[in-house]
């Protein structure tokens, strides 16, 4: 760049050279201290990231190393047993699947319904709609064990009085993950451009017809992703189930949501992890591997779904 400018006079040449050297000095001769500090800082934040990544890797490797000895298909096909050699997770896995099935049945209509209401119908100027929104955001942060207390006081006993049954667990877990589903479904619905709605309304469709035939089909992938994420949270949640009578030693497969004596995978793992006795510990680690494998499968499916059906408007 500097080549293009030819100073006419000696005086101008001197002035340009002076200005250039001053600028260059200011740009390049930064105090060396700052350069060093900047490098140290970069090293520190990369160290922070690696600590978190190493923690995750250590967790996975640890579960694998501890549980490797017990990994076999028996884990999936055998029921719980006092004899650690023959014990498996069949009853617990089936219990978890039943629980999750109930959660899906409840959470999909309720969560999507609430999201449609908030995005398509609610007037944000009204205080009650703002209250509902704030409420959902807060519910997303209520500790899971408090939902356990709610389930114990309202569903197991109290008004619903179902007793310690699988359905009570499903309902409590559904309430626990409902805010997650609502928030995800709202984002998916919001991502559908207004022009789609306007086009539908202009053709004479009612508001519900517009929602039902235009907005919802376009939002399905986003909603499904949110539902799967919510399910994976419910799948790994043990704390509320402790309060709802998820037993630890159940050898019979669940057969009916309103019968007692159910268990779930994370609850059984918790029970085994509590025992220092090494064979049960190994079994707990193997259970964790099974649980993480199921979660990995669910999350991969969610990611695949998002990539497959993601729409750009």
């Amino acid at each position: 760049m500097s080549d293009e400018f030819e100073p006419r006079t000696e005086r101008a040449r001197l002035a340009v050279a002076g200005a250039r050297s001053a600028t260059m000095a200011a740009l390049h001769d930064r105090p060396t201290g700052e350069a060093v500090r900047s490098l140290i800082f970069q090293a520190l934040i990369m160290f922070a990231v690696s600590i978190a990544l190493i923690g995750l890797a250590a967790l996975l490797i640890d579960a694998f190393v501890e549980g490797e000895g017990s990994l076999s298909l028996n884990l999936l096909t055998e029921p719980t047993s006092r004899d650690a050699d023959n014990a498996g997770f069949r009853t617990a896995i089936l219990g978890s699947l039943w629980l999750i099935g109930g959660v899906v049945l409840l959470v999909v209509p309720l969560g999507v319904g609430a999201a449609i209401y908030l995005e398509e119908y609610a007037n944000r100027e009204r205080w009650w709609n703002r209250l509902i929104e704030l409420n959902i955001q807060n519910l997303a942060g209520v500790p899971s064990i408090v939902y356990g207390i709610l389930g114990l006081a309202f569903i197991v006993r109290g008004p619903l009085d179902l007793g310690f049954v699988l359905a009570a667990g499903s309902m409590t877990l559904a309430l626990l993950v409902l805010p997650t589903v609502i928030i995800a479904a709202r984002e998916a619905i919001r991502a559908v451009p207004p022009s789609i709605r306007e086009g539908s309304m202009a053709l004479g469709a009612t508001q519900w017809q517009t929602v039902r035939h235009q907005v919802l089909p376009a939002a399905v992938p986003g909603i499904l992703t949110g539902v799967i994420l919510a399910i994976s949270r419910a799948f790994g949640e043990a704390a509320p189930l402790l309060l709802l009578g998820a037993a630890t030693f159940v050898t019979a497969d669940p057969s009916d949501p309103f019968s007692g004596d159910f268990t779930a995978l994370p609850v059984l793992i918790f029970e085994q992890a509590k025992q220092a006795q090494s064979e049960l510990r190994e079994l707990a680690a193997a259970g964790i591997i099974v649980m993480l494998a199921v979660l990995l499968a669910m999350n991969s499916f969610a990611i695949w779904l998002r990539n497959r059906y993601e729409q750009r408007w």
């Binding site: 200011a26 740009l27 800082f41 970069q42 520190l44 934040i45 990369m46 922070a48 990231v49 978190a52 990544l53 995750l56 967790l59 640890d62 579960a63 309720l110 969560g111 319904g113 609430a114 209401y117 119908y121 509902i132 409420n135 955001q137 807060n138 519910l139 942060g141 209520v142 500790p143 064990i145 408090v146 939902y147 207390i149 709610l150 114990l152 006081a153 309202f154 109290g158 309430l175 409902l178 609502i182 009612t206 508001q207 790994g236 043990a238 704390a239 402790l242 309060l243 709802l244 037993a247 994370p266 793992i269 992890a273 509590k274 510990r281 680690a285 964790i288 649980m291 993480l292 979660l295």
Partner: protein, 317 residues
């Protein structure tokens, strides 16, 4: 006014023909059903409050609130109802956990938003978020089987009164810290990325280096989002149950020392309110009193973080 006179058909007639031929009760019923779905969240909160307050009220008729909040011994079997050891147990895990998670989470956030290229970011951020999705039972098992033994091995002699025992708050804090790192890093990263590029470019134009821009421009500009992420992480850590039961033990203990075993509020609820507890006993009511305290603490934290997140959204979006 004049338009009405020159109109081909009267506007009154037009609007009456545009009106729906029926009253559309179906639409109204659907609206009502959807509103009920949304109202369910309010019902849930109300139910939580009622289910906590009822028994907690009964509890405070038996035990004076002064004893509950100020006495320093918790042993319901011996009728000692000072909740401080449980609160301090929770605080011990949460504070040590935050001490671990805040530098790591913020470092990761600055790295992701200011240093990492788009390709690295696209891999590292979801991988970090995997940590948030791992069931806490698994993290608790990790604590018992690896973190505690590791701490015992590397503990420097008699520091803080000797190496931690099998149950200790320190290992639980590290595990809880690991769990909340992605909350801090993800939300802070979002907040930092929503700082307008113009602010950064202005600083670069004045000759600032990358570190200076990150620490003096982006970090302060994203402060409310960052604080919100930390408050949210605090709320999560306070409510965490499985890790503290498995790793920190179940001994009420009035201490912040990380080598000591403690009992957190959530752990007390988790081990006491299992299926066979009898209704109507004072022990049953303690669960609700402790639960109500837990709910209030997390409620305050959640409201603060919601408010702060809203502020950074309003400022830059």
């Amino acid at each position: 006014m004049e338009a009405r006179d020159i109109g081909v058909s009267s506007p009154v007639g037009l609007s009456s023909r545009l009106e729906a031929p029926s009253r559309r009760w179906g639409e109204k019923a659907i609206f009502a059903a959807l509103a009920v779905c949304a109202a369910l969240s309010v019902i849930t909160t109300t139910a939580i409050v009622i289910s906590l307050l009822g028994p907690a009220f009964g509890f405070f008729q038996e035990v004076s609130p002064g004893d509950f909040f100020l006495k320093s011994e918790w042993a319901p079997a011996q009728e000692l109802f000072g909740v401080l050891p449980l609160v301090l147990g929770t605080l011990s895990v949460v504070l040590w956990g935050l001490l671990f998670a805040i530098p790591i989470g913020l470092g990761a956030a600055i790295y992701l938003s200011e240093y990492a290229g788009p390709r690295v970011r696209k891999i590292v951020k979801p991988v970090l978020e995997v940590l948030a999705g791992i069931p806490t039972v698994a993290i608790g098992f990790f604590g018992v089987s690896l973190v505690t033994p590791l701490l015992q091995d590397i503990w420097p002699g008699e520091f803080l009164g000797g190496p931690p025992g099998f149950f200790n708050a320190g290992a639980a804090a590290l595990c809880v810290g690991l769990m909340i790192v992605p909350i801090i890093s993800s939300i802070s990263d979002d907040a930092m990325r929503s700082v307008p590029a113009g602010l950064r470019e202005g600083a670069y134009a004045l000759g600032a280096g990358k570190m200076r821009v990150a620490l003096r421009v982006v970090f302060p500009a994203a402060l409310s989002g960052t604080v919100a992420s930390i408050v949210l992480a605090f709320s999560r850590a306070v409510g965490e149950t499985m890790i503290v039961i498995l790793v920190a033990g179940n001994t009420p203990n009035l201490t912040l020392n990380p080598v000591e075993p403690i009992q957190a509020m959530t752990a007390y609820i988790g081990v006491t309110a299992t299926g066979d507890i009898a209704t109507g006993t004072i022990e049953y009511d303690t669960v609700f009193a402790v639960g109500a305290l837990l709910f209030v603490i997390t409620l305050v934290a959640n409201l603060i973080s919601i408010r702060l997140v809203r502020r950074y959204r309003e400022a830059y979006e």
